[in-house]
Symmetry: C2
Subunit: 387 residues, 2 copies
């Protein structure tokens, strides 16, 4: 038991939330139908457009990210519609489950977990299935840390009569994903990832083409109805009671991101993920995903390592919380997020803990070897800011 | 500018306060004359005895640590009294200033900053000055990181007609300093050090012998009057309005310390200070104090290093806050505290930042060399808890 049981949350959602933001959210609750809240709402809507890099409205729900995924399905499609789903991890599978639950016909591009889809693969599936109404995909597959080639896929779908629906829950705000410029039709996000907020809010934006689809969509909807939210936005309010405190936190985070600029934010994640990968490689470990996302670093657990026990030990004794693998990856990977309230220096802690844990659980590596690599990357980075 | 500007406070007071404790203090203020508060007071008094390792009452003031130092002076002495002061740093000098301000005659054992007093030195001074009424000393001289030999000095003063007054502001709760067992007459503490609270509370406890002294003390007093506080304690209250929110935080911290046990708490600081020193030595740097305290590690700045600029850089760019030297030590030392809300893993951050800063400011050392030493110490420590 340590003195004050300080914790480091390195899980890919929820992520650590900055104390300043937590305190903002701890202010007395305000009523959502008052002019005061309408003004907050206007500010949030404006800044969400900046984050999504879109001219369109961004809608939000009091729900987990899955809520916005469901909102995409029910607002875009009709029963029996054919959709192509890229399934290369737990969240790809979630698209499949969602599609099935609402009576769609999912055509699955199934890939081994950890692989990124090839754009030509998507193109081929579209050709073979001309009746396809939409492509459902993740920008970053959180369960494997893989980054799918959204820009290239959008090039293919842009001028076709189908919508590209991107679950960007662990990608938006981490790396370049400009909705309008790339021609993505639907972008979905969540509060508990790059927005560095607690879970409880989901986001969704629709392109012009996607709006046309929503007019023809026949699936039943109520809570996740885009039309209801659209009408409410016209009166500067929301259709249902919004998650007021989370939105107060969101306003703070969006303000912070806008002040910092997306460019700087992306640089932050670039350095963290680059330094982390260098460190992991220095320890003789493999990066699991084929094309790694800057959102998190997923490390392949060495053969024979008791990964579950190691993670429990790090969590309970060192206060360091990493995530393991889900389903078929259980025990096989270690996931270290770069999202949330982390300074660049925190990576020293993450890698130091990883080195200690691996050694304690029998995978002998030279202590400090990975940390040194992190320091080298940070040294080069800080040198620039010094001169 | 980093994303959320996360900060690490490694200064030897104030120190980082645990969020859980901050939240406790953020609860609505309660009135200090109600039974509810009397009960809190009883709990605090009981647990303060545990912390001070005394059967006597421990009093507190809404003041900085200096307030309790003044309380010692005005409650123990009369004008013209002779006191021996061990002055080997900024806080030794504070004793001298306090003694002079209240018309005492300080006899100064002056030592170069960074040195620890020798017990025989104190004994000699007492012999040469038989009129001496008290010894004023620091347990840990925060400005230099030195630890004075309190146990040995108490052996000398125990059976003499003078009081040993120990400013233990940065020592109590960090390492063994049992007031009753060692026969220390007055122990002084502050909230913003090992108690890991914000500044604003000071503490003082008197031995039986010290109580006898207070009866004859003629210096004028009001706010810091022991008699007033004693009377108030009999009615389960305080003489003046207490710092309610800080006391609520204190209750929480004392509870935590009691649950953890002093033994474990001392072990925590032992590991942190030991690992830190090992790391500093590995970097080819010198530890400044002759006898280092476990409260903080004071590093001698290498010749020619622009220490002030380095510390500003670490603070503004990396979010790492170390303390420099005061007065004659300005620019010559770097002080890294081990007190406050720190996990053992935080030391990785401190040493990593020190290494980066030194390299960036021209003192070339191998990156990671110190961190590795920290990891080795932690490895041995955690290995024990694993098997």
């Amino acid at each position: 038991m340590e003195f004050l049981e300080k914790k480091y949350l390195f899980t890919p959602g929820p992520v650590a939330v900055a104390p300043k933001v937590l305190l903002t959210m701890a202010q007395p609750v305000i009523h959502h139908r008052l002019p005061e809240f309408s003004n907050i709402l206007k500010e949030i809507r404006e800044n969400l457009k900046y984050l999504f890099q879109t001219e369109k409205e961004v809608y939000f729900f009091a729900s987990s990210g899955t809520g916005a995924m469901e909102a995409a399905i029910v607002n875009l499609f009709s029963p029996e519609d054919h959709v192509i789903v890229v399934s290369a991890g737990k969240f790809g599978e979630r698209w499949v489950e969602l599609a099935k639950s609402f009576g769609l016909n999912p055509i699955i591009i199934e890939l081994p977990w950890g692989k990124a889809v090839k754009p030509e693969n998507v193109e081929e599936f579209i050709k073979k299935n001309p009746q396809t109404k939409g492509i459902l995909i993740q920008a970053c597959e959180t369960s494997t840390g893989v980054k799918h080639p959204i820009k290239e896929i959008a090039e293919i779908t842009k001028n076709k009569e189908l919508v590209l629906v991107v679950d960007a829950i662990s990608a938006l705000g981490v790396y370049e994903l400009p909705m309008d410029a790339w021609g993505i039709d639907v972008v979905i996000a969540g509060s508990q990832k790059a927005l560095s907020l607690p879970p409880g809010l989901s986001f969704i934006a629709f392109s012009e083409k996607a709006y046309e689809f929503t007019k023809k969509a026949k699936l039943p909807k109520y809570y996740f109805s885009l039309q209801k939210e659209k009408k409410a936005y016209q009166k500067d309010t929301t259709a249902f009671t919004p998650a007021v405190s989370l939105l107060i936190g969101l306003r703070e985070m969006l303000k912070r991101i806008r002040e910092l600029t997306l460019e700087k934010l992306f640089e932050h994640y670039k350095i963290l993920s680059f330094a982390c990968r260098k460190a992991v490689e220095a320890l003789g470990l493999e990066i699991f995903p084929e094309v790694p996302s800057e959102s998190l670093t997923v490390v392949k657990a060495p053969e024979g390592l008791k990964t579950g026990e190691l993670l429990t030990f790090l969590r309970t004794k060192l206060g360091i919380v990493f995530a393991g693998g889900q389903d078929q990856l259980k025990g096989k990977i270690i996931r270290i997020t770069h999202m949330g309230d982390q300074s660049l220096m925190d990576l020293t802690v993450a890698i130091s803990a990883l080195e200690l844990g691996l050694n304690l659980f029998g995978y002998k590596i030279e202590l400090g070897k990975g940390v040194k690599l992190v320091q080298k990357v940070l040294y080069e980075y800080y040198k620039k800011s010094l001169f």
